[in-house]
Symmetry: D2
């Protein structure tokens, strides 16, 4: 029998896509969609291409909280309270916001605000299946990674695990859907079209999330300070990270291709490529496509990773996590 589920915050891009994936998922039954705007509209009116004939409702925990699984797609800072309410009712939650990604509430406070539910942090599992698969299987609260951290951590994981990153610069590029559905000057077609612009300079708030997870991977526990710079691209879905790794000679002896092949041999959603990936290669999939290159001239390693920011960077990775939490096949509903 399918597990009952609901999406909270289904009017935005990631919530709506999660609704589409769960609506067609063989092992989940999508019971309700809540929203903070567009209440009363049908999702297939708002997003015809998702073809989900359900109506967006105002949040009513008594009715909507009576499910086995929830995906929360609220803005950063606004999600934590709802997650707590859902957890108190015993609902297993995947949270798409940043609220439970940072293990140290002091770091969270630095970038967002005082953490609204720090007591839940110890039980929250960082939802990158390629790294925390076993813990996700037993988790009741999964913090779905940010789109940039997803691509960056998959790109750098094999090097970080071997302690091979002395210094790294991540030049990231994302399509406009990453900026969300809000209509602003920044998302106006005429602003973006025929343009590329850096933003979040000099320090984007995804940086601490990446640094935290790279630090945890390092065998010596070294703290890493990274430079991370995102750019906005004239396309809707897709994200590429270009990672420049300095290692002061340590890389010279390493067979990079072998290192990555071994690391990802059994991963269903990581794909290695000899030539650099394009975001088109992974559009509307849960796949992260990676290539690794040695720059003999400088001794650096260059790693590229491409994902669909709405899929592997958010909604389909959330479903991947739900699959693990409910003991299902990891790829169910997202292949």
């Amino acid at each position: 029998m399918p597990h009952s589920t609901a999406v909270f915050g289904a009017a935005g891009f990631t919530g709506a896509l999660t609704a589409r994936l769960l609506f067609r998922h063989p092992s989940f039954e999508l019971r309700a969609l809540t929203a903070r705007s567009d209440v009363g509209r049908r999702l297939d009116d708002l997003y015809p291409h998702h073809r989900v004939p359900l109506t967006l409702e105002e949040l009513d925990l008594d009715r909507h909280g009576d499910v086995e699984a929830a995906v929360v797609a609220y803005p950063h800072g606004a999600a934590a309270e709802l997650v707590r309410d859902l957890r108190e009712r015993g609902v297993r939650v995947v949270d798409l916001s940043a609220d439970f990604r940072l293990r140290d509430p002091a770091v969270y406070e630095l970038w967002y605000r005082k953490h609204p539910a720090p007591e839940l942090l110890p039980d929250a599992v960082y939802g990158l299946p390629e790294r925390y698969r076993d813990r996700i299987r037993k988790a009741h609260l999964v913090a779905n990674p940010g789109c940039y951290p997803t691509a960056t951590l998959l790109a750098l994981g094999p090097l970080a695990s071997e302690g091979l990153i002395e210094d790294v610069i991540v030049d990231a590029k994302s399509g406009v859907s990453g900026a969300g559905r809000a209509a602003t000057e920044a998302t106006h077609f005429v602003t973006v079209d025929e343009n590329i612009t850096p933003y979040g300079v000099p320090r984007h708030r995804h940086t601490p999330e990446i640094e935290q997870e790279l630090g945890l991977l390092d065998p010596g526990g070294a703290e890493l300070r990274i430079t991370f710079t995102p750019h906005l691209l004239p396309l809707d879905q897709g994200e590429l990270v270009s990672c420049y790794v300095t290692s002061n000679g340590a890389l010279d002896e390493v067979d990079l291709d072998r290192l990555y092949a071994d690391a990802y041999a059994d991963e269903p959603f990581v794909e290695l490529s000899t030539s650099p990936p394009g975001v088109r290669d992974v559009r509307e999939t849960n796949i992260c496509r990676i290539s690794v290159h040695r720059d003999g001239h400088t001794g650096r390693a260059i790693v590229f990773a491409a994902i669909d920011n709405l899929w592997k960077g958010a909604a389909s990775q959330a479903v991947q996590n739900l699959n693990l939490m409910f003991g299902l096949d990891e790829g169910e509903g997202i292949l």
Copy 2:
């Protein structure tokens, strides 16, 4: 000595471009920019590519009305009062809104609201230089044509003048800048990208403007009812009209190429082409590029016209009109 001028409503796309053209115009001196939003910001902050180092100011007629020439770039309905105030001070005005384009205030009321300044209508000249050049030279108030009417009237003028249009369907396509600077769901990059959508169906409010002018051209004074359907394109600037003309046999004897060549032989800003024009051919120019074809299969004439909706469809045509009004060379500052 250059003529003093000001742009009223310079924060929007067409007002800002007009400011750019006038700022570099040898025979005009751009004294002031007013705006209803973004007051206090510099135009080259808002639109770096226009490179106009002037600040947007709140309207103060005593200060800003003391110029020889004004371009008003207010929304339809909001322009008329300002135009009246400026005319009372003796300022010569080019108005970019629809407020003085329709000669019959009753038709205006049908599509907009009760006309705020009907007393000015008799003196307003419709600012299509290819048709009303002599009257524009003497005008004090010019109603700059809409972008769709500009392209459509230039496409159909030679046929209409000969009474050769029995029926016409205009399928129009425009880039997003035509929808203006307001950030809405309709102008969000993710809505427009990889998309094309008809809008304003079944009857767009540019229709009466086109019908009025086609009717005035017809030698027999026949009233024409046209079907006009615009579509939104994933590009920023550019407009194409595809006109399908039925004439019940009358066209068979006509040498279409000759007709158009004669009509536009001396026009500096109309360009004839044997193959269909693309909007890229006229990007950032005051040029309307036209091709005319006979469809032997059905007896129809098909006429295409491409313009840049912000240039010939608005700002550069406004400057073309100003040039005429002040006895300057028609192409000054817009070549």
Copy 3:
């Protein structure tokens, strides 16, 4: 047990997509891909996003012809001979070219060349399931409709069946994938980007296919001469037809919404919309989304239809036809 199948001409856009759909289809087993270029390359090297790990092979009928079902994705004119060879071996064929769409070989010769296999024409069924579903179920050779005819016939079918079309103009717009994979000046990014251009003027070779099928629908058997004008859009996949129907009064009494609702009540892949469809609504689906409008001003009906030119306009419609030919559920593998 799945039916054995092969795609002939799998290096092009439509052949490759058909391969992707059949590779994942539960009731077909994709045995081979042949190609006329790129022989020896793997399809997932050429088109990573299709993820088909098969190699393109040179045609060898003895090996490749030993299948139950074939999809032929050869250019117009080049397909007919291969189709004949496959039919002689008893293979059931869906042909994506124009070679078997026109019932009269004289019309074919006018637009292409002398028909290479006229003896097969009587048995070929025009593969528009919404019209010829029963005949397709029994067919051994299906001529898959062109992308423009698919959208146009679904848009106009309900009116044509009632004899309500006196005259019709079809203004069509297509993304670049419709022009195929050949790298030419016309498909160069810099030619297409920020542009829209009419082509195939005054008469595109899809016109006779549309006229043939509209004529067959007409209850009085009236021959219709249509004006059909395609335009190239700056997007990859998607096609919109805007149809302007004149009916000299006959439409006034008709409830257009009811007519379309009745006509398509049971169609799994036709979707009606009250507002005009955008091509984004149907991207990567087998769905045709239609809206119908009355233009009270002129008495016309305006009908819009949007499809994905590579899916419903080619590959997924081919699979829809195969499903019918093999007695499977019509939507298997393409939902």
Copy 4:
């Protein structure tokens, strides 16, 4: 009296744009266009938006070499011989290829082929006016910089001159026009649209040009090894370089804003911005727009520079150089 001039290789993107700029230049008279393809076609047929009514001719040195100034827009490797022939006739030349940019013919041979005219290298001046203005004024042969080196050197010049670059990574992004007019799989619309792809990995051939000029700037003459990675963007014109500079503490004491303000105080075509530039800001201009940022977290400097690759990256910079060579105002014809 205007100086006679010709463009050699005017069928490509940069040659054609140079022709447009020279055709309208008050102090040059464009006498001829030669081409290696499309001979006999008019340039305004090939590129309507340039509006140059001249015909492409096959090279005939006796006729075409009789000019005062020439711009050569041949491919790398093919330009050198023509440049020699023109120099022998006393023609002053701006060469858009890489053939005279690298001072050491051995380095040239490594990336291209044996240098065809090494005897001209000592007299060739690297055509970056912001650095070599005085030498360009006296030059008879100017090697116009590559588009990537132009942006990168303007971005890094102020730091390099102070010896502040220990290590630098340049992540570059370019529109498709940078790949030239050749229709290939890489420039097909469907390849580029909704995509971003790194290319030239791990080492692009613009790297030695950048390293040469950065090394010449360094006060200590230190050789620098840089990592330079270009990416292809879904837009036509525009180039952004994101430069990540490591300086091991030396930057901490530097007032970056002041450094750049001083360096570019008198430069007519360098524009400083406090927020990161977008390529749209400089579209169809000769301007390089730069922002510099301190990343306090890592101690790095981050510098962004945006240019139009066809303008400042090629054609308009060539005219800027011609203006200097002929003692004209530096901005004549390119403002």
